[in-house]
């Protein structure tokens, strides 16, 4: 029963964030979610919950918010850097890999605590795809991370995306090692 309630709660929250008019679905399960989140969940259960929350957002794209006026995005400070680490992707893919979920959970909980902070999600690609398509793929990677963070109850208005395609590699090498580092999402922060 507990698992089902969490799923329902996250689903309702996700919907509620995107569609403010959806009051009925929003009211009741919120308190239930709060109660459930503190209770430890087994890793298998946790995985299940996240999958469901992503499913709930599928096909219901949430429009991007305007970037905050008069506030510049900057590289995270030294103490922030261990939270906002780069997220890596497979070749030609924009799916969130299992091993980066813990990082995104950390980022989400930090963003929920720091209400004024805005996050710029930069999507990047390795050099192997075509120039134009990589620009779209970089954006798609940034949007995947955004969608995932929204699923973790980060308000969508705090999340912004930009794609650099293959224009800004972090490693100038031409081998699998460099490509793997370049297929990434990098974060900037405006506090």
């Amino acid at each position: 029963m507990g698992k089902k309630a969490v799923i329902l709660g996250i689903l309702a929250l996700a919907l509620g964030l995107g569609f403010n008019g959806c009051a009925a679905a929003r009211k009741k399960p919120v308190s239930e979610t709060k109660a459930q989140v503190v209770k430890p969940i087994s890793p298998a259960e946790e995985e299940k919950i996240e999958e469901e929350s992503i499913v709930a957002l599928k096909g219901k794209s949430i429009p991007l918010a305007k970037a905050p006026k008069g506030r510049a995005f900057a590289e995270p400070t030294a103490e922030m850097r261990y939270i906002l680490t780069d997220i890596y992707f497979d070749f030609d893919k924009s799916e969130i890999k299992r091993e980066v979920r813990a990082t995104l959970d950390r980022i989400a909980s930090w963003l929920r605590k720091n209400r004024d902070a805005h996050l710029m999600i930069e999507g990047h690609c390795d050099e192997r795809g075509t120039e134009e398509y990589n620009l779209a793929l970089g954006e798609r990677r940034a949007l995947s991370v955004r969608r995932y963070l929204i699923g973790l109850r980060v308000p969508s208005g705090k999340l912004h995306t930009i794609s650099y395609g293959e224009s800004k590699p972090t490693d100038p090498g031409h081998n699998e090692n460099a490509w793997a580092k370049n297929r990434r999402v990098h974060f900037l922060i405006a506090k």
Partner: protein
């Protein structure tokens, strides 16, 4: 002049759908049969070496003529006599063209004059008039190609004449510019710039060198392409996913056209403005699709391979050029969207991508990456031979050929 007819038929195949033509013509083309008209040239007067260089290059680049090296009139079908003079800064060119295979022979006779700095365009104009006389179509000798290069240290927009001369930088933003394209009148460029630390579409007037921001929605603003009627198709991610939109040239009346989850990018207008070819990964891998604007129906046209991107609809008729991954490299392919027939028109070492059509529908400009450096090349789709457009110390990518 019967060879002219063969060359014309070759061009027509690529402009029309296959079933409109007799089968033997198609067979000729599949063997790569495209004979050129042998031309002998004679030059006299001032600046004749320079004039000769420009005109010979124009004739070769038209794909229609083969200038004879020894100018042996016995092997030629056409004889071109050019006389130039340069007096008080005024350049004059007199060109006479005769067909030596027929009795009367006179094909074209024309005089041009202009200030000396306009010499190249005067010679190009003569080449265009000759092409027009022989094929009935406009020549491409006065067209330009815009592209992106990092030779100054940052990715900027550049222009170059179709023969690789007169390279000029358009932007000096010292940031990143990307995916430039032409307005339908050839007087403006649209491109993406990160000038304001986001992706925005700029509309840049080449005459006044002034520009405005056309759209700056949250997220991705990219791949602006202008139809012959002046409508702009582009990709925006403002609704949470990269989708295709169209709007008027001033940015008003924005309409969303695609609704698939995933990437919808790189729109390219059909010449009649009624359809748009684009890339989508809705099937799991990037493939080329066609959207019919009246029915809003979407149809996939590429099924070969797992990576087909950057479609470019030919300016006349029904062919789409695109980039296709073959093995570890990319090649330029052309496909007839009606029957799905396709072929690769580039080969050899290097990764070729991002094709853009010449207004005559016969040549394509593309970028080729070899040894981690990209340069621009042109390929003739009848002969499948390619030659260099521009090389240098930087990378040269994302070419777009101007309208006539």
């Amino acid at each position: 002049m019967k060879k002219i007819i063969i060359v014309l038929l070759c061009t027509i195949f690529f402009l029309a759908t296959k079933d409109l033509l007799p089968t033997e013509v198609y067979l000729d083309i599949s063997r790569g049969f495209a004979e050129k008209i042998p031309v002998a040239l004679s030059f006299s007067g001032d600046k004749n070496e320079e004039t000769k260089k420009i005109l010979v290059s124009d004739l070769q680049r038209s794909g229609l003529f083969s200038p004879l090296i020894n100018d042996d009139e016995n092997e030629a079908e056409l004889l071109i006599k050019v006389n130039c003079s340069l007096k008080l800064g005024l350049f004059r060119l007199e060109g006479i063209v005769r067909d030596i295979t027929t009795g009367s022979g006179f094909v074209l006779g024309k005089r041009y004059q202009g200030r000396y700095p306009l010499m190249r365009s005067i010679v190009h104009r003569f080449a265009n008039d000759l092409v027009k006389k022989v094929t009935g179509e406009k020549g491409i000798a006065l067209t330009k190609i815009c592209f992106i290069s990092d030779e100054s240290g940052a990715k900027e927009v550049y222009l170059v004449d179709y023969d690789g001369q007169n390279k000029k930088r358009v932007t000096s933003d010292k940031i990143i510019a990307a995916c430039p394209d032409w307005s339908e009148d050839g007087e403006n460029l649209v491109y993406l710039s990160y000038l304001n630390n986001r992706t925005e579409i700029f509309f840049h007037n080449l005459k006044s060198n002034s520009r405005e921001i056309l759209c700056s929605y949250p997220g991705l603003n990219a791949f602006a392409a202008i139809s012959k009627r002046g409508e702009i198709a582009l990709t925006l991610s403002k609704d949470g996913d990269p989708e295709i939109y169209v709007m008027r040239k001033n940015g008003s009346y924005l309409r969303r056209l695609t609704y698939s989850k995933g990437i919808d990018a790189s729109p390219s207008w059909a010449p009649d403005g009624k359809k748009i070819a684009f890339v989508s990964d809705r099937s799991g891998s990037p493939q080329i699709y066609i959207l019919d604007l009246s029915t809003k129906k979407v149809r996939r046209i590429t099924y070969q391979g797992s990576y087909n991107t950057s479609p470019a609809w030919a300016p006349q008729g029904n062919l789409i050029a695109y980039t296709s991954r073959r093995g570890g490299c990319f090649e330029i392919c052309i496909i007839n969207p009606d029957n799905g027939e396709f072929k690769a028109i580039t080969s050899g070492p290097g990764s070729k991508e991002d094709p853009s059509w010449a207004p005559n529908g016969r040549q394509l400009v593309f970028s080729k990456k070899l040894g981690y450096k990209s340069n621009l090349y042109i390929v003739d789709i009848c002969t499948e031979k390619s030659y260099s457009l521009i090389t240098g110390k930087g990378n040269y990518i994302s070419p777009a050929w101007s309208p006539e």
